[in-house]
């Protein structure tokens, strides 16, 4: 029998509730990094490799959630503002990229603190997303737009995921394009 300890379902992560197994076989749904971290802490999922997988999904959920809120807020802003205001807000670095990066970093922290002994968790976070972590300005950085490109993650293509691992904020503005 193939046991699906964790599975991705459209826009959420589902994990077998290992607190109640084998008395009951149930999946619990998760929608954010904080929820996944709570699941790890509460032993819904346990075992170092499985925790690493859960944490990677946790970051994906957070990216998905953040990209939706950032996109929503800024498209709302665009409806009300004129073209020049929109341009101004972009020039001021107010396009949501910073919110997104800060939110994602917060997600990392809460996941990394959930199970200190299991190293695979840190391994998964570093390996999958370490290079995509928000960084300070770099002279050799590439122009990127986090929210837009990550909107459909993890359904993005392999090339976009490769790109996401090496992404840097724009060299001129120090933020997403």
């Amino acid at each position: 029998m193939k046991i699906e300890t964790l599975r991705w379902a459209h826009d959420r992560l589902e994990m077998i509730d290992q607190r109640i197994l084998p008395a009951a076989f149930e999946y619990v749904s998760y929608h954010s990094a904080a929820e996944v971290a709570e699941g790890i802490r509460g032993m819904v999922v346990r075992g170092a490799p499985a925790i690493g997988v859960a944490a990677a999904y946790g970051v994906a959920l957070e990216a998905l959630k953040l990209s939706q809120t950032v996109e929503g807020r800024h498209s709302g802003l665009d409806l009300k503002s004129s073209g020049s205001n929109k341009l101004d807000s972009r020039l001021r670095g107010n396009d949501g990229t910073e919110d997104f990066n800060a939110g994602l970093e917060e997600g990392f922290k809460v996941l990394a603190a959930s199970r200190p002994t299991a190293v695979n968790l840190f391994w998964a976070l570093q390996r999958r997303f370490g290079n995509a972590l928000p960084r300070k300005r770099s002279s050799r950085s590439r122009s990127v737009c986090w929210p837009r490109r990550m909107r459909f993650w993890p359904k993005t293509s392999a090339s976009t995921r490769r790109w996401a691992r090496t992404a840097r904020p724009c060299s001129k503005t120090g933020r997403g394009c």
């Binding site: 197994l21 490799p49 499985a50 997988v53 199970r115 002994t117």
Partner: protein
């Protein structure tokens, strides 16, 4: 990893495991239980290559991963399993009823020290006393070259409630002081072999781990 480890097990081996290092712990085949499943599964394709393996599972207090999760997985799989409480392992070993021990790992330090579920150290000491091979099955992602020895691995201390009872049932005296470290460190010298996807590292030490990680 499973095939690498399966080669270490004799036909008819009685394998003791602690905690759960199966599909539920890995989102896949499993590490320690993966080795056992591989040894058994070989027989489905080629009867001569298959081994009759039976599992002895420590119940693994306080969270009972052995009694609940390992036992459940092995029943699903149809692999014979005998459940014991943690304090029975020494007795069975002394009577010659255990041929090998295989456990998983939460973190392996650069010198081969192994952090795993609380109680693993106790099993490793017992295995050494009785001359029983003690294997640790883990992917390379569990090996942390940034930590020199097991002393540097942070050990999570969990809530007292887990020791005082389970879910709604409480048996400890009210107001009693409790310790609940969730993991312990087994020194590398007690480890017979580290079973990984890249092969088996026998008698792990700093040099061997470095070579394994390439």
């Amino acid at each position: 990893m499973g095939a690498n480890g399966a080669a270490l097990l004799k036909d008819g081996a009685r394998v003791l495991t602690h905690c759960n290092a199966g599909a539920l712990a890995t989102a896949g085949w499993g590490t320690a239980l993966g080795v056992i499943r591989s040894a058994v599964a070989a027989g489905k394709k080629n009867v001569a290559a298959g081994k009759k393996i039976s599992v002895i599972a420590d119940e693994t207090r306080p969270f009972l991963q052995g009694a609940r999760l390992t036992a459940w997985e092995m029943v699903q799989e149809g692999i014979p399993l005998t459940l014991i409480t943690d304090n029975m392992a020494g007795h069975l070993m002394a009577r010659g009823e255990v041929d090998a021990v295989i456990v998983g790992a939460d973190r392996v330090a650069a010198n081969g020290d192994v952090a795993n579920k609380i109680g693993t150290y106790m099993v490793a000491v017992l295995a050494r006393r009785h001359g029983i091979p003690f294997y640790v099955a883990c992917p390379l992602s569990t090996i942390d070259l940034n930590i020199a020895t097991g002393a540097g691995i942070p050990i999570e201390e969990r809530a007292a409630d887990e020791v005082k009872g389970f879910r709604d049932c409480h048996w400890a005296a009210e107001g009693v002081q409790v310790r609940n470290p969730a993991f312990d460190v087994t020194p590398a010298e007690l480890v017979t072999g580290l079973i990984t996807e890249r092969g088996v590292l026998k008698q792990p030490d700093a040099r061997g781990v470095r070579q394994l990680m390439g």
